[in-house]
C-alpha cells in the first residue's frame, strides 16, 4: 500500500510541477464558464425540453459535473496518457523494474496518479460551479451536498474510467502509439453519444431522469448547443439516489480498476532488449587512428538535401504496411473521384504529420541542433517535408484532377496539402507534443467526412461537382499563418534560449 501511494504521489508531483498543469486548471475554469452561462446566453450544454434548471447548487453541480463527464474525458485522456511512456523515456521504469514492486501495483499507481490529476481538475470545476452559482445570482442558497454529489457520482467515475483507459492504452502494444490517440476520439464519441441514455450500462454519463415542467418538450440534449431564445427555467429537485443508480456507479468504478489492472497480463515491465542487442551489434573491427579527414569541407546549395533530410526524418520507421496502404490509397485516388478517397488518403499519414515540430525535442537531437545554424531554414524544410508527404499520399487524386481538368479541385488539393503540414508544424512547435495535432486533426477530419463543409480544407465535398467548402485561398492563408506561427515560436525560442 505504501508503494502504491508513493508511486502515485511521486507521479502526481512530477506532473503538477509543470507549467502545463496550471493551464489545465485554468481550462477547467473555462469549462465551468461554458457549463453555467449568463442568464441571457444563447448557448447551453444541457437542454431539457427547452428548459434548464434554475442555478441552484444542485443544478449547477449537475450541469458542471455532466460537462466534465462529457469533455474532460476527451481532453483528459490526452492530458494524462504519458505516465508509463515517461517512465520508459526517462529510465525510471528500469529502476522500478529492478525493485520488488509488483506489476499490478505499478499499474494501480499510474491509475491513481491519472485519477488525481483529472480529479484535481474536477475539484477546480466544483469550486468554479459554486462561484458561478453565486455570480449568476439566481439562487444564493448554497447546499454543499447537492453541489458535490453530482461530481462524486457523475464526474468522478467517468474521469476514473478515462484514467484507467489511459493506462490501458499506454500498456497495450497496438494502442501505445499515436494510433491509440486517434482511436480514442472514436471511443470517446461512442461513449459520449451512447452514454447519454439513462439505459446505458452503469448509468452511462449519469444524465438523470428528470421530471420536466408542463409545456416542456421531450428532447433532452447534452453537448454545446445554440439556442434561439434563452432557455426557460424550472427548479431541479436534485439527484435521486436510488440503489440501482448507485450500484451502477460503483460497478463503473470497479470496471475502471479492472481496465487499468488487466494489462498486468501482458505489460512488458520495461523488459525490452537493449538497443545494441536489438540490432545484433557484435565485436567491432580494430582500427587505428590515422589522422584527421583529408577532404576539406566546401559549402554549396543545400535546399533539396535539407528537404530530403527532413522528409527522411518525417517518415523514418514507418512500417511496410503503412507504405503499402499509402500506395493503395494513391492508386484508389487515380481510379475514383476525389472525395472519400482523398479524405482517407489524408488521414493515413496523421501519425507521421504529428511528428512535425516535435522530433528534435522528442528524439533528443535538439541538444545537437541547438548549436547548428539557420533554424528558420529547418522550419521551412520541415513544413516542405510535411506538404510533400501530403502531396505523395494524395497524388492519385491530384493526377486524376489534372487529367480531368478539375483545376478548382487541384487548387483546393494544393492548399490542403500546405494547410495540413502547416497545422501540424504549428501545433507541434507550439506544444512540443504530437498528441495535440493528432486530436485536433482527427476532429477536423471527422467533421469533414460528416459533410461539415466549413472545415473542408482539401476540396473533398462537392455539390454537383462544385466545391462546397471555403475558398482554397483561405486555407492557403491559414497555412501561411501556421507557418508564420512556427517561425515566430522558433525565433522566440532562439531569443529565450
Amino acid at each position: 500500500m505504501n508503494a502504491l501511494a508513493a508511486l502515485a504521489l511521486a507521479d502526481f508531483r512530477e506532473r503538477v510541477r509543470r507549467p502545463a498543469y496550471l493551464l489545465m486548471l485554468i481550462s477547467a475554469i473555462g469549462l465551468g464558464l461554458l457549463a453555467v452561462p449568463p442568464v441571457g446566453a444563447h448557448w447551453s450544454v444541457l437542454v431539457l425540453g427547452g428548459f434548464r434548471g434554475r442555478y441552484t447548487s444542485g443544478y449547477v453541480g449537475l450541469v458542471t459535473a455532466l460537462t466534465s463527464a462529457l469533455w474532460l474525458t476527451l481532453v483528459g485522456f490526452y492530458l494524462v496518457r504519458d505516465a508509463v511512456a515517461r517512465d520508459e523515456r526517462t529510465g525510471v521504469g528500469q529502476l522500478l523494474a529492478a525493485t520488488p514492486l509488483r506489476t499490478p501495483v505499478y499499474l494501480a499507481g499510474k491509475l491513481l496518479s491519472n485519477a488525481m490529476v483529472l480529479g484535481s481538475m474536477v475539484a477546480v470545476l466544483g469550486v468554479t460551479a459554486l462561484a458561478l452559482q453565486l455570480l449568476r445570482g439566481e439562487s444564493r442558497a448554497v447546499d454543499p451536498v447537492a453541489l458535490a454529489l453530482p461530481f462524486v457520482l457523475l464526474a468522478w467515475p467517468m474521469v476514473l474510467v478515462t484514467a484507467a483507459l489511459a493506462v490501458f492504452f499506454e500498456t497495450t502494444p497496438v494502442l501505445r502509439g499515436g494510433l491509440g490517440n486517434v482511436l480514442w476520439f472514436f471511443v470517446w464519441m461512442l461513449g459520449a453519444i451512447g452514454g447519454q441514455s439513462p439505459k446505458a450500462p452503469f448509468g452511462g454519463l449519469g444524465l438523470p431522469p428528470v421530471q420536466l415542467p408542463d409545456g416542456a418538450g421531450q428532447d433532452v440534449g447534452l453537448g454545446l448547443m445554440y439556442v434561439d431564445e434563452p432557455l426557460r427555467t424550472f427548479d431541479f429537485p436534485g439527484l435521486r439516489l436510488d440503489p440501482g443508480f448507485l450500484g451502477g456507479r460503483l460497478a463503473l468504478v470497479a470496471v475502471a480498476v479492472a481496465i487499468a489492472l488487466l494489462p498486468a497480463l501482458w505489460f512488458h515491465r520495461f523488459d525490452r532488449p537493449a538497443r545494441a542487442a536489438r540490432a545484433g551489434v557484435g565485436p567491432e573491427p580494430r582500427t587505428v587512428y590515422q589522422g584527421l579527414p583529408r577532404t576539406a569541407p566546401a559549402h554549396g546549395g543545400t535546399v533539396l538535401r535539407l528537404l530530403a533530410g527532413e522528409l527522411r526524418i518525417l517518415v523514418q520507421g514507418a512500417p511496410l504496411w503503412w507504405w503499402l496502404g499509402a500506395g493503395a490509397l494513391a492508386l484508389a485516388g487515380l481510379a475514383a473521384p476525389p472525395g472519400p478517397v482523398l479524405a482517407v488518403a489524408w488521414i493515413w499519414p496523421v501519425l507521421l504529420w504529428s511528428r512535425l515540430g516535435t522530433q528534435p525535442a522528442t528524439s533528443g537531437a535538439a541538444a545537437i541542433l541547438g548549436a547548428y545554424p539557420a533554424p528558420r531554414r529547418r522550419v521551412l524544410a520541415e513544413w516542405g517535408a510535411g506538404a510533400l508527404l501530403a502531396a505523395a499520399t494524395g497524388a492519385g487524386s491530384a493526377i486524376r484532377m489534372a487529367v480531368t481538368g478539375d483545376l478548382p479541385g487541384l487548387g483546393a488539393w494544393a492548399a490542403g496539402a500546405a494547410f495540413v503540414s502547416a497545422l501540424a508544424l504549428a501545433l507541434g512547435t507550439l506544444t512540443g507534443a504530437p498528441r495535440v495535432f493528432q486530436a485536433v486533426y482527427t476532429v477536423i477530419w471527422y467533421l469533414l467526412i460528416n459533410d461539415a463543409s466549413t472545415v473542408d480544407f482539401m476540396g473533398a465535398l462537392r455539390d454537383h461537382g462544385r466545391l462546397t467548402g471555403p475558398s482554397p485561398l483561405l486555407w492557403a492563408a491559414l497555412a501561411g499563418a501556421g507557418l508564420f506561427a512556427a517561425l515566430i515560436r522558433t525565433a522566440w525560442r532562439q531569443a529565450r534560449r
Partner: protein
C-alpha cells in the same frame, strides 16, 4: 599555488566576458566568469555542478547568458550566433539521435544543415566514420547503436564542417579504453590550429593533452594556466603517509586528502598541506589531480 583566475593574455578567438547564468529558481550556475580562448586545447575541469556544462552551452550558443558577452572573432555571438555556429563543432554531454536513420543519413542531414556541398559532405562523412571506427555500422539504424557508438556518431558530427572551434562536454563518457586513446589523439591533432574546449571531471582526460587547464567551481574560475604551472603551484604541498586503517577516516576528515589506498601496511594517504601534516609524512611530486583538488578545496 597558481591562481591566474579570471582571464589570461592569450589571443581572444572566442571570448567569454563576465558571463553570468542564473536559472529559474535563482541557481547561479556561472558567476561573472571571463575566459579568453585561442587555438589549443583547453581542459575545463570542475566537480559536478560547477557550471561547466552551462558555460559550454553558452559558449556553443545553445544557451544565452543572463549577463555578459560571448564574442567570436570580435562579433557578438549572443545576438548573432550564426557566425560562430558555422565555425563550431559541439558535442553536448547528453544528446539523442533519430533512431531510424543510419549514421550516414543522420550525418548527411546535419551536413546539409551546416551548409556543406553534397560532394564534400559525402567524402567527409565517409572519412569521419572511418575516423571514429563506425564504417562497419554506417548503414545500420542508430536506434541499434550502443552508448559508445552513439557517442562516436556525436564526435563525427562535431567535425563535419572542419570546425575552427570545437566544444566537447564529457566526450569520453561511454567510450572504451581504446576509443579514449583514439579520441585523445584526435583532440591533439585538432588543437594544433583550432580551439578545442573540453569539459570533464576526469583529470586523466586532459592531463596529457591540454595546453591550458581551467578549474571551475561555483561558476567561477579557480585556477587557470598550463599544466606545469599548475603543478608548480602545489609543489612542496603534497605528502604521503601510511596510517593504521582505524585512524584513516579521522585523518581524511581533518586533512585534504587526494587519494587513499589500502595496503598491507595500512592506508596510504596522499595529502595536500602547506606544511608537513604528520611527523612521518614524506613529500612527493605533485600531479595534476593534486593541483585540481587543491584548487577546488581552496
Amino acid at each position: 599555488m597558481c591562481a591566474a583566475a579570471g582571464s589570461n593574455s592569450l589571443e581572444g578567438m572566442l571570448e567569454l566576458l563576465a558571463i553570468t547564468k542564473v536559472y529559474k529558481g535563482q541557481k547561479r550556475a556561472v558567476d561573472g566568469l571571463t575566459l579568453r580562448l585561442g587555438p589549443g586545447l583547453v581542459g575545463l575541469l570542475g566537480p559536478n555542478g560547477a557550471g561547466k556544462s552551462s558555460l559550454l552551452r553558452i559558449a556553443a550558443t545553445v544557451t544565452r547568458p543572463t549577463s555578459g558577452q560571448v564574442r567570436y572573432e570580435g562579433v557578438d555571438a549572443v545576438a548573432r550566433p550564426d557566425g560562430l555556429r558555422r565555425a563550431l563543432g559541439y558535442l553536448p554531454q547528453d544528446f539523442g539521435v533519430y533512431p531510424n536513420l543510419s549514421a550516414v543519413e543522420f550525418l548527411a542531414y546535419l551536413a546539409a544543415v551546416k551548409g556543406l556541398s553534397a560532394r564534400s559532405a559525402k567524402a567527409r562523412i565517409d572519412e569521419l566514420l572511418e575516423l571514429v571506427n563506425l564504417t562497419h555500422a554506417a548503414r545500420r539504424p542508430l536506434g541499434g547503436y550502443s552508448g559508445g557508438m552513439l557517442r562516436r556518431v556525436g564526435i563525427a558530427q562535431t567535425l563535419l564542417a572542419d570546425p575552427r572551434v570545437v566544444i566537447v562536454d564529457e566526450p569520453t563518457a561511454g567510450l572504451d579504453p581504446e576509443e579514449r586513446v583514439r579520441f585523445r589523439n584526435l583532440l591533439s591533432d585538432l588543437a594544433a590550429d583550432r580551439l578545442v574546449l573540453l569539459s570533464t571531471h576526469i583529470v586523466g582526460d586532459v592531463e596529457s593533452v591540454a595546453g591550458r587547464i581551467v578549474v571551475v567551481k561555483g561558476g567561477r574560475v579557480r585556477l587557470d594556466g598550463p599544466a606545469d604551472e599548475l603543478l608548480r603551484g602545489v609543489a612542496g604541498h603534497v605528502w604521503e603517509v601510511t596510517v593504521p586503517p582505524e585512524a584513516a577516516a579521522g585523518l581524511q576528515q581533518r586533512l585534504l586528502t587526494t587519494r587513499a589506498v589500502r595496503t598491507p601496511a595500512g592506508v596510504r594517504l596522499r595529502v595536500l598541506a602547506a606544511g608537513r601534516p604528520l611527523a612521518d609524512a614524506a613529500p612527493v611530486a605533485p600531479d595534476l589531480e593534486d593541483a585540481y583538488v587543491g584548487a577546488v578545496h581552496r
